[in-house]
Symmetry: C2
Subunit: 333 residues, 2 copies
Amino acid sequence: MKKHTWTTSLLSLSLGIIFGSTNVIAANEPIQPIKAVTPENADVTELGKMLFFDPRLSKSGFISCNSCHNLSMGGTDNIKTSIGHKWQQGPINAPTVLNSSMNLAQFWDGRAKDLKEQAGGPIANPKEMGFTHEMAEKVIASIPQYRDHFKKAFGSDEVTIDRITTAIAQFEETLVTPGSKFDKWLEGDKNALNKDELEGYNLFKSNGCVQCHNGPAVGGTTYQKMGVYKPYETKNPATGRMAVTGKEEDRNFFKVPVLRNIELTYPYFHDGEAATLEQAVETMGRIQLNREFNKDEISKIVAFLKTLTGDQPNIQIPILPPSNNSTPRPQPF
Amino acid sequence: MKKHTWTTSLLSLSLGIIFGSTNVIAANEPIQPIKAVTPENADVTELGKMLFFDPRLSKSGFISCNSCHNLSMGGTDNIKTSIGHKWQQGPINAPTVLNSSMNLAQFWDGRAKDLKEQAGGPIANPKEMGFTHEMAEKVIASIPQYRDHFKKAFGSDEVTIDRITTAIAQFEETLVTPGSKFDKWLEGDKNALNKDELEGYNLFKSNGCVQCHNGPAVGGTTYQKMGVYKPYETKNPATGRMAVTGKEEDRNFFKVPVLRNIELTYPYFHDGEAATLEQAVETMGRIQLNREFNKDEISKIVAFLKTLTGDQPNIQIPILPPSNNSTPRPQPF
């Protein structure tokens, strides 16, 4: 094992020399840099962007994917639990859409296997967008300019929920955030992190945070129990994985959230009850790791976490084609 | 008078020949082309764009200017009357923000003298964004990155509602839509309109629509009574100008809406009760002009109206600076 690591390091070093890259540090780190994504099919992602911003996928005509996964605000709504159709209070904190393709599954309880499956959920959830898949298809299909986009993207102008969610998911797959200070450090720029940030990263590793928050997204790869050493006190009734598997042993297991752009995606935890990063770090230490972090440690870990903010996606807002006389009208009230 | 017109035409023609332009037609038309706007101060408009998209100007943290004046949808929300704080039903149809600087005053009843005065209204309206100016200032002032933008824009980092609304208004002044088919025609491209569209324009003029819908914005320059020949039947209690002046003779006088981008800004009238352009044209003819337009006339006028859709503003969505530990939190529920 030691030999393997050494070989890998040597290989990286050699490749670094050969290719002029400097990603020596990254090879031994449990977190990997985020890579920019080139869309597989630009017509599909462009259509997906339009649909992501189109509130006509909701019954009210007021709520779009971007309402709760706001790309101006780290792909979240920055409120504890989301506002849904007729201002219903959502059951859980809206996870960021940024880098979400790196999650092992979607939603806090992982009940959707991928972004495509996820995208259909809120549209038809009476507490979220309050619509039906059939009505969403009917609205979009009534608009000739949309049908042209479907033809370009999929080869025919047929509008189905399967195609709608495929396009949204492919757009979402482009929403990655490379270029963070931490990634620059991972890629060999030793000055990218200051002393506190680096000490924070070392505390993050030495205290075991990284056991769950690892990989390029710094999370999203496993389900873990919320409350390993001490129970997590919350009024939120979500049971996590148990809701999917029906097994008592899965109670309070949630998908480990990604920590990329964590400075932007407040408030924290599935119930949104941690308002600040300091509070989140303190709680995680106490209930997950049995550590009482002191103020200095918390401050350094938070400094490290803030280096995970990457370049936010450059989004030109889409101009949506208008409804016409045959388009079903929204029902907001 | 005749001589003056002739002289003007000749002058335009001569200038056209001298400068190689072809704007001969426009000189005699009651509608003028929209001109692109160069921002007076790019730092102010950039700040204004951020604030326009920032839902933290609302109590809930969910509603921004762009929620009801959605720049993906012709600067409107495309619903009869807007959804406000806690899903309250707004009293009136949200007018488009596009080309709104050309209005003689703002709101349907003209109660705000300009865009700056308008911008403060919804923030503090308990039925709209439900916040207070003091809280809006406090939220924005708590964010150092915003204070930097205020310093760049205004010379000091002081955050006041006056500066907030100045910046929003200056951003809104850039939201103009040149380049429509009709403008191309006005500027001399005779092929820009087809036969029906041109006949529609002539009907629009010969039947008197243009008496109120004129100028570059095709409206916005006067208050007129809704229901000149026949009363306008509506359940909407708005009394128009009377609410501002207190005078009975101003009852049901409303600002003439701009018709630029009218294909995008459905539904129509202050109550949003006209779902289609055909319905709006039929009603206007009947109650304002004492005309019973036939199907063919309506179809041609609508064809003309659709040539008023201009180039929509190119907007890169702003990345909003995050709240921090000192930022007051939204209160959505």
